[in-house]
Symmetry: C2
């Protein structure tokens, strides 16, 4: 049996009880932290907490040479750990399908996710979020500034009145995590540029956004303000997220003011 | 301190370790199960597992008379439990804002959600989901069949190539949970009706959908097929969800075939 377990959002205690029991009962535990990582726990913390050894794989160790643990899962209980929920990356789905093809039984134990947290920490309703997008480092997409597709996704959601969750790039190899202030500045500039090129585009700096830092930790930060204001602040340790709200219902507007300290001037009227 | 804790998806072991510790340390535990409930655990299971008494409130007990536990949270540790994640319903956000106004410190401990599970169990990628929608019982919306807004949401997502998660109605008072086969039949009929009224609308019966039953349990069911085929099947105990896929990437198509037993004839070509 190959059991995929999501470690949840933040540290060694973000896992579900069912997930912890699966680890306890496992003959072998494999993990990958290149698609995401726990900001509040080291590998050592995890190994100590669960009383196990964890075989951490890099991308090649998962995608090119998973045969050893897939073989083991044929007769033993192997657990595959990821930060957040499992199966979020195509890598995990691919691994599950490979196991399936070999006739290895698979199981999924879910973890808490940034998507969940972005909604419940900010007070923005989960069914009013459109498609999520990811803001990459310039070096990741090999271009300058913000890819057009990121702005397009946000605008397409906003056209329907919907919020957008913007995942911020993670460079696991260099332990570099995009900050919400950096992301806010990049988005403000990109919209300014678009506004200078096209008619009818609102400039970037005075658009509303919400920075979320350390979701799932005991002390998360939620700050709602204009992109220009957020770009000038600092939100501490990673991981960070950014939400670009669409239309605000009355209660959502209240929540951004109360929980995110949004100034009245930054909030559009409720719809 | 008022701590909102999400119980997660299925039973008493779906909670996070952090959530369990918050319950253990609480002076008082309040819960509501009218917005959602755990299909795999009774109140008694929860009380026994956590070794506590739980004060379960109906809608009036949360929305009209929360003063007693808000007062208590001023000086003691009160935990407010919900199934799934917390803050999914506007009721919870409203409660958090009320606490905030009184100067009561609040905290959120996230739970796993249907949204997470719909993506990770089916192999459909989470960033390719659009806005979610809810299919209500006819008696809940006071109309016949499927509200136009439900079809509109699915079509608006599909126009962008995106998947739609369809939450199925829960009638907590009557312990009645809409089944995925019922939902599939309703959607097929509604699209047939729309096709008979308008040009260029694809009829309902041969549209692809994915039924998900008992997400988060040890034995969830995932079945991908046409709406007509799903309407004729039975997926066992609640809770059920339905996903209406948009465009399928290669790996998503493979996943629906391997994990959802989708017949080749029901799957559109990969894009």
């Amino acid at each position: 049996m190959l059991t995929f377990v999501g470690l949840g959002l933040y540290d060694e205690r973000s896992i579900t009880v069912a997930g912890r029991e699966a680890i306890r009962d496992a003959d072998r535990v494999v993990a990958e932290f290149y698609t995401s990582k726990l900001a509040g726990a080291t590998l050592d913390d995890l190994e100590t907490y669960h009383g196990i050894e964890i075989d951490v794989r890099d991308r090649a160790g998962v995608e090119q040479s998973p045969e050893d643990f897939l073989d083991a899962a044929d007769s033993a209980d192997v657990v595959f750990l990821t930060a957040g929920d499992t199966m979020v990356s195509t890598t995990h789905v691919d691994l599950r399908l490979r196991a399936h093809e070999r006739g290895v039984e698979t199981r999924v134990i879910h973890g808490t996710t940034a998507q969940t947290a972005a909604s419940s920490l900010t007070g923005l309703q989960n069914y009013r979020f459109g498609k999520a997008t990811t803001l990459p480092f310039e070096r990741s997409h090999g271009g300058e500034g913000v890819p057009e597709s990121v702005l397009d996704s946000i605008e397409a959601n906003r056209d329907r009145g919907l919020h957008t969750l913007v995942f911020l790039d993670i460079d696991a190899a260099d332990e570099d995590y995009m900050r919400a202030d950096t992301a806010a500045g990049m988005l403000a500039d990109a919209w300014d540029e678009r506004a200078s090129e096209r008619e009818g585009i609102h400039p970037g700096g005075d658009r509303l956004a919400v920075a979320v830092a350390r979701a799932g930790s005991p002390a998360p930060v939620v700050r709602a303000d204009t992109l220009a204001a957020l770009a000038a602040e600092s939100f501490g340790d990673p991981l960070h997220l950014l939400v670009v709200p669409g239309d605000l219902h009355h209660l959502e507007r209240e929540a951004l003011a109360a929980l995110g300290d949004a100034p009245e001037s930054a909030l559009p009227p409720a719809r």
